[in-house]
């Protein structure tokens, strides 16, 4: 899934030893999802799994096996932090609830990322990633006023928000432990993480009795504000004009057409009063050139603008190339593929993306013998018992 793996990705890329614990019986469900590299199915071939688990180790451990607790105990004893995103109560059923972990290691930091928190009347509610985005209140922010809302349908935004908050909480908890010697259990709700981003809309409801309503791409204080069709098949460029000065920039960029001098376009208020007409007029200009040309002309003129980019364009983007945002790793089964560097660059200890995402159980032996310090005999004995499957 997304929320758990993303919570540790940045830590792995900045030097933490992150061990992903899975089992063949119960692998990360992303391993079974599309896209499969080259269209060939396989437990190590999921593009999304390999996208969010680079620079981690993978150990296979069957948590339902009777000998799982003794191996889990060794892992917890070694670890600083345990991150999990099972449904609530699953860890307890495996004997790995926070109280169990504390008995193994008193100052352990446990971070639990779930849809709605570990307890409460809806804690066990089930839903796909995008559902939680709707539950968090985003549905009325996406759609046209004359149609039903449309999404989001592919981007599990709350998973990602939850995992960033989890990363932040982990780092805070480590410092807290350094200061006080105390660990803690953090119980994080992805849906609540989503709600925090809507704070201003919530205050607007409380203070002004306004609930969110669908507005397409319009903006209360900006006009024009939207995406405009450009030359080619389904090509678009976003344009946002917040001030009358920016409006003048836009007019100049379009070659100061005769219509643009009409007084009805002079102020934001007057432009908003005739917004549909204005959009048609601007689109007559944008449609004549490629989205890249529109963006280039507008940016040169100081107008806020940007192409509606596809994945292919992102991968070829010169700014991202400059920042080494996408990097290539060599995966033993899939071959070369892209991974994504952090959105921040640290001047002294920048992220290092060295390893592709692990194959299922790829590092079981390494983890047991090198990290946990088991003897070869101990390891072989565990392999034979079947607990490491």
């Amino acid at each position: 899934m997304a929320a758990g793996p993303y919570a540790t990705k940045y830590l792995a890329e900045h030097g933490a030893t992150v061990i992903k614990v899975e089992s063949l019986k119960n692998p990360d469900i992303n391993r079974a999802y599309v896209p499969m590299a080259g269209g060939i199915s396989g437990i190590n071939r999921c593009g999304i799994f390999n996208w969010c688990n680079n620079d981690k180790y993978c150990m296979s451990l069957d948590l339902t096996h009777p000998r799982a607790p003794e191996v889990a105990r060794k892992l917890v004893d070694w670890a600083d932090i345990v991150v999990e995103n099972f449904r609530p109560q699953v860890m307890e059923r495996r004997g790995l609830g926070y109280e169990d972990l504390r008995k193994i290691k008193n100052d352990i930091i446990m971070v639990r990322v779930s849809s709605l928190g570990q307890e409460g009347p809806h804690a066990l509610l089930r839903g796909l990633g995008p559902f939680l985005v709707g539950l968090a209140g985003f549905t009325p922010t996406l759609g046209w006023p004359d149609r039903p809302p449309i999404g989001p349908t592919t981007v599990p935004y709350t998973d990602h928000l939850g995992s960033l908050y989890a990363t932040i909480a982990i780092l805070g908890a480590i410092d807290y432990r350094r200061r006080t010697g105390e660990g803690q259990c953090i119980d994080l709700s992805q849906v609540e993480a989503g709600v925090t981003t809507l704070a201003s809309a919530i205050l607007d409801y409380e203070a002004n009795d306004r609930d969110l309503k669908l507005v397409g791409n319009h903006h209360q204080w900006a006009c024009p504000h939207g995406v405009f069709r450009c030359q080619g098949d389904d090509r678009w460029c976003a344009i946002a004009v917040f001030s009358d000065e920016e409006w003048q920039y836009l007019c100049r960029a379009m070659g100061s057409p005769d219509w643009s001098t009409d007084s009805k376009w002079a102020t934001v208020e007057s432009r908003k009063a005739n917004e549909d007409e204005l959009e048609t007029l601007i689109e007559k200009w944008t449609i004549q050139q490629s989205s890249q040309e529109v963006m280039n002309i507008l940016q040169r003129s100081g107008v806020r603008s940007g192409i509606v980019q596809s994945a292919e364009e992102l991968v070829g983007d010169p700014q991202l190339e400059h920042r080494h945002h996408f990097r290539s790793v060599e995966h033993p089964e899939v071959g070369k593929h892209l991974v994504e560097a952090p959105a921040f660059v640290l001047s002294e200890t920048p992220a290092e993306l060295k390893m592709p995402a692990p194959c299922m159980g790829e590092h079981t032996e390494y983890v047991c013998t090198e990290i946990l310090g088991m003897s070869d005999e101990e390891f072989v004995e565990l392999v034979v018992s079947g607990v490491l499957e």
């Binding site: 599309v34 592919t154 609540e192 203070a207 945002h325």
Partner: protein, 409 residues
């Protein structure tokens, strides 16, 4: 109060791109000082206002993104202002800023200068594209960043323009990344005494949220496209947002291992005489074997059932019967959500100047350390000038008055 970050001080020089970063740090206990231009931060003038009265002390975005911070006014474009900032830098743990790249250097306040004053300090810069590169000077807004990021190409009706969230999100994406990056740098500083500069790109932060978009293209040459309320899975597309009697819900037809939740829904429909042919479908079939015709036909039955129920009824059924279904919340729904209530998510924040209190979203996690989730309303302009300038820095009152007169404070 003790919290995750209570011993640490943050100097917050951000504009609307980075206010949320300081807020998250402040909500986790850090002592965050928002440094405003004399007269108030420009971001106080844009947005919605309490009771729609345009007033820099009543700006709702300001309220939302500056809780638990202190405020001082300081003009860092003057030599006196720079000298005061440098004094504050000496004892700060973090400085966050979101000026145009190069602006801090132009003021003689670049990272090199600040790190000489305080080698441990973490300086975090939040800008649209990062400190360097061909797009460095490009101008953006929320919709522009979301367009470039790959969000919009996945979002909208196929016969109309791509769409974005109408509540601005790019600054949140950037700010959360800035917080995480700053704390990673801080962890290193705690271990080694070495500070560093954290260069955050709002553009890249937004791309990070797009999840499967690039992998689909990279490993399978598939372009994700906007499909309205639907999304493709296997050989068909499926609807995710459904009208019900009083709003919308999220539900999608699933098959395969998750298919057992379908039986629970069909059973419920059967109890109300609305299951029809859906009773005979094998929901454990491979999702990839569902054809588009089957999807449409089956969806029709489910859609009719949803239309005959309210959000609350459907939620109740989903909880009791373990059906994968959630209501799509309005703001009103959020404020009345019993799950949030049970977790004490909402925090009442007193606004004495308005003679009222408002509910704010709390921190989205709870700790067994039981940290208090208290919030103080966002500061008034220069509310803490006396506390910081006189009580802490020991600037004499008459000097403060003359700094005020000359527009430094």
């Amino acid at each position: 109060m003790t919290h995750l970050l209570s011993p640490y001080r943050v100097l917050d020089l951000t504009n609307e791109y980075g206010l949320f970063c300081g807020k998250v740090l402040a909500d986790l206990g850090a002592d965050v000082i928002k440094i405003e231009m004399p007269g108030g931060d420009p971001s106080r003038n844009f947005g919605t206002f309490y009771e729609d009265i345009p007033d820099p002390e009543k700006n709702l975005e300001w309220f939302a993104f500056n809780t638990n911070k202190k405020s001082i006014t300081l003009n860092i474009e003057t030599p006196e202002g720079q000298a005061i900032l440098k004094k504050l830098v000496k004892s700060a743990d973090f400085l966050i800023e979101s000026f145009h790249p190069g602006h801090m250097e132009d003021l003689g306040l670049g990272y090199t200068v600040l790190s000489e004053l305080n080698p441990r300090i973490i300086v975090t810069s939040i800008t649209p594209f990062g400190q360097s590169g061909p797009y460095r000077d490009y101008r953006v807004s929320d919709i522009v960043t979301l367009a470039l990021s790959g969000f919009m190409i996945q979002c909208g009706d196929p016969d109309r323009a791509p769409l974005r969230y109408s509540v601005e999100q790019a600054h949140i994406m950037a700010s959360l990344h800035a917080t995480a990056g700053s704390l990673i740098a801080f962890h290193h500083a705690q271990a080694t005494g070495e500070g560093q500069h954290v260069d955050v790109s709002m553009y890249e932060a937004a791309i990070w949220f797009q999840y499967s978009l690039v992998p689909f293209w990279d490993v399978a040459s598939v372009h994700l496209r906007r499909e309205g309320p639907r999304a493709s899975r296997g050989n068909a597309s499926f609807r995710l947002i459904w009208p019900c009697r009083d709003g919308y819900i999220n539900w999608r037809l699933v098959a395969g291992p998750m298919g057992k939740t379908m039986y629970a829904l069909v059973d419920w429909m059967g109890e109300e005489g609305m299951a029809g042919d859906l009773r005979s479908v094998n929901w454990t079939m491979d999702m990839n074997d569902v054809t588009q015709e089957q999807a449409y036909a089956w969806e029709e039955g489910f859609g009719a059932f949803f239309l005959s129920h309210t959000k609350a009824e459907l939620l109740d059924g989903a909880v009791k019967r373990e059906i994968m279904l959630t209501p799509a919340s309005t703001v009103e729904d959020l404020l009345n959500n019993p799950q949030f209530e049970a977790r004490d998510f909402w925090v009442d924040v007193e606004h004495p100047e308005l003679g009222t209190s408002l509910k704010y979203p709390g921190t989205p996690f709870k700790s067994t350390q039981n940290f208090p989730d208290e919030k103080y309303r966002s500061p008034l302009i220069g509310e803490h000038n006396v506390a910081i300038y006189i009580e802490e820095l020991g600037i004499p009152e008459n000097e403060l008055a003359s700094l005020k007169q000359s527009g430094v404070i």
